[in-house]
């Protein structure tokens, strides 16, 4: 701010206020500025978290207002952790998480590497590739449902074209062995562009002179790739994995649209199961304990991961 502006602000400040502020330390003024944010943070994040923790030790149900709320200790946690169905949900989530990230990183990085070659029309292809990411998950879920339709779906016809199998002989969304892969395919289709963009940013941040020096040292292209490209893109890649990991751990909308958690409970990810417990069965205390377990899991894994990411950055 220029001196002139400062003067104008000082003059515009009412005397009573100016007198009060004059007596405050820089630290106090800093607190005044930060206080509204801290208050909001406490109200929106910290208070609900503490309340959820408290509810997780009770038999509270949000749809039974007048009912006595009993403290039941760790009973909810015990029930959840010993429930084999919940472990199956965790397993389904882990499958989804692992394979979506694996394919998105693999394809995303490959696409970024190709786009980075700056061939003719690469900006156009970049735009085309990022289109799926811009669509609403509800829309994506619905049209992939049609694509997977065994009688009229394009996906089955494409598979049939290459394999010679009857298109209506398999059901991507209805068969236990195929449904988990069907949601992996759709999520990969939708979110690979996101990973690609982050990788592209990483690739474009590598200065050309490093490659030029490597050329002078007569390093092969393969060696350049493994000793320059990969290490320098790695922090970006790890960041993309972190974002996608957190996002997919709480995946809900896309899978609900596609399979609704079925067939049976094959694609019932933890977030879908949690929603059913909390807002369909109204077992609020139980669902709170469930949410806390998921929170601790994500928080713990993310903390370890961020530490690893920082180490990679420091290298």
């Amino acid at each position: 701010m220029s001196d002139g502006t400062m003067d104008r602000v000082a003059k515009a400040t009412p005397r009573r206020v100016a007198r009060k502020i004059r007596g405050l330390s820089d630290r106090a003024i800093a607190w005044i500025f930060v206080a509204p944010t801290i208050f909001l943070l406490l109200a929106i994040n910290i208070f609900p978290l503490i309340w959820t923790i408290q509810l997780s030790f009770t038999n509270y149900r949000a749809n039974r207002i007048g009912r006595e709320v009993k403290n039941i200790g760790f009973r909810n946690y015990e029930r959840i952790l010993t429930d084999s169905d919940i472990w199956l949900n965790m397993q389904a989530t882990a499958h989804f998480l692992f394979w979506t990230i694996f394919f998105q990183v693999l394809i995303g990085f490959t696409l970024a590497y190709l786009i980075n070659k700056n061939f003719r029309g690469s900006p156009f292809w970049t735009t085309v590739i990022v289109l799926p990411m811009m669509l609403s998950p509800a829309v994506v879920g619905n049209f992939w449902k049609f694509l997977y339709q065994p009688q009229i779906g394009l996906f089955n016809y494409i598979v049939s074209f290459f394999t010679g199998k009857d298109p209506s002989s398999f059901e991507m969304l209805g068969q236990v062995n195929l449904a988990p892969w069907s949601i992996v395919i759709v999520d990969t289709w939708m979110w690979t562009p996101f990973v690609m963009l982050i990788c592209l940013a990483g690739l474009r941040s590598i200065p050309d002179y490093i490659y030029e020096a490597a050329e002078i040292d007569r390093a092969s292209k393969l060696r350049q790739f493994f000793t320059i490209t990969i290490p320098m893109v790695l922090p970006f890649l790890m960041l993309a994995v972190l974002f996608r990991g957190i996002e997919n751990f709480k995946m809900f909308d896309l899978v609900v649209q596609l399979t609704g958690g079925g067939p049976g409970s094959t694609t019932e990810l933890t977030s879908i199961n949690l929603k059913r417990e909390a807002f369909e069965k109204w077992r609020t205390g139980y669902a709170s304990a469930y949410a806390i377990i998921l929170f601790v899991t994500v928080f713990g894994l993310a903390s370890i991961y961020v530490k690893a990411l920082n180490k990679v950055k420091e290298r």
């Binding site: 038999n59 949000a62 749809n63 039974r64 207002i65 007048g66 169905d85 339709q149 065994p150 009688q151 209506s168 059901e171 969304l173 209805g174 236990v176 609900v256 399979t259 609704g260 958690g261 079925g262 067939p263 049976g264 409970s265 094959t266 059913r276 807002f279 369909e280 069965k281 109204w282 077992r283």
Partner: protein, 439 residues
Amino acid sequence: MKTKRTAAIVAALTASVSLPSLAAAEDLTLCWAAWDPANALVELSKEFEAQSGHTMNFEFVPWPNFADRMLNELNSGGKLCDLLIGDSQWIGGGAENGHYVKLNDFFDAEGISMDDFAPATVYAYSTWPKGTPNYYALPAMGDANGWFYRADWFADPEIQAAYKEATGEDLREPQSQKELLQIAQFFQGREIDGKTVYGAAIFTERGSEGITMGVTSALYPWGFKYENTPGSYDMEGAVNSPEAVEALEFYKEFYETATPPGYTNSYMGESLDAFKSGQVAMAMNWFAFFPGLYADPATGGDKIDFFVNPPQNQAASTLGGQGISVVAYSDKQDAALEYIKWFAQPDVQAKWWELGGYSAHNSVLQDPGFVDSQPFAGDFLEAMDAVQDFWQEPAYAELLLAMQKRIHDYVVADQGTAQEALDKLIEDWTETFEDEGKL
């Protein structure tokens, strides 16, 4: 000039006379599911608007979201709905959680007698605790799960001959669940008019109530019971009886051998689509849709006919339908009660049936002309004589979701055996009733 003055005086007098009623006029909101009968109710309610001066607004929610949306509304004490046509299973929660106004005093004061309505509907839609004279709703829409089929295919001599050759029996409306499956299997994958068709559309939906409503249409005819003794919550040997296991295995076989490909998550809409597109020979669905199906220009009229859910060890149909309740959080309860009073009148009930709604009023059902009034009217009466409903407990949503999971896991995802599915269901329900303090 004189004429003008006279007109002004008349207008002023008219206004002064009608003002009190205008002052009492309310904007009422009636909440229900978005389906064919809801449109009929809008039409019917115009008469109420004209008579009472109240304005009717409607909040219709598609079936898959209806329970979620409305139960959230009730649980949060919302004032959106003054009147609610809620599902029969909600009556326990509606009464015990104080969402619905108890109607006994109102019925007594207005001379509305529950004896004027079909007993099965009063029991299912109005009373809580079950069977006691404590009324929280007026039976509004009788309904049950029934069947419809391609009458033109069934009447085709070539198809009849092929069926006779394949099974040694005549092709007719099925008289048992097993015959139903046999016919569905006969049509499965058959070429008709150059098109591959399939046996039947049944309910397999996972998210809300679909597969439970479908499978109970097999369980009840086999003799499935929720409890050994009503009110005891003693489920061992009832829920997982040999008959129940056999019925569940039957439903799985039906799903695997007689439904269209990709039919893994299907409910009312999918059943209607499959039939109207000429994909299936038969389909299960609620009677509420039958007027619309009969009127369909492509597959209705002579091409369609209807039958009640076939018996096996006994005659039984899955109950649908709803009662109309006054929401306890409404600020316009008097006007809402006025609507119920109007709706309970025999002539309004007759018009309700005429427009496509399913009246539960005895004056309509026992009318000598009722059976012939629609091609499905007789089947409806037969179905309503043997309806059974799901738990109507306050914890019904939890009980329903447990059944949805266990049945879908077994029937569609092919996990475990029928016996295991029903055993696990008892475990889930036992846990719920323990939490409820009922066990």
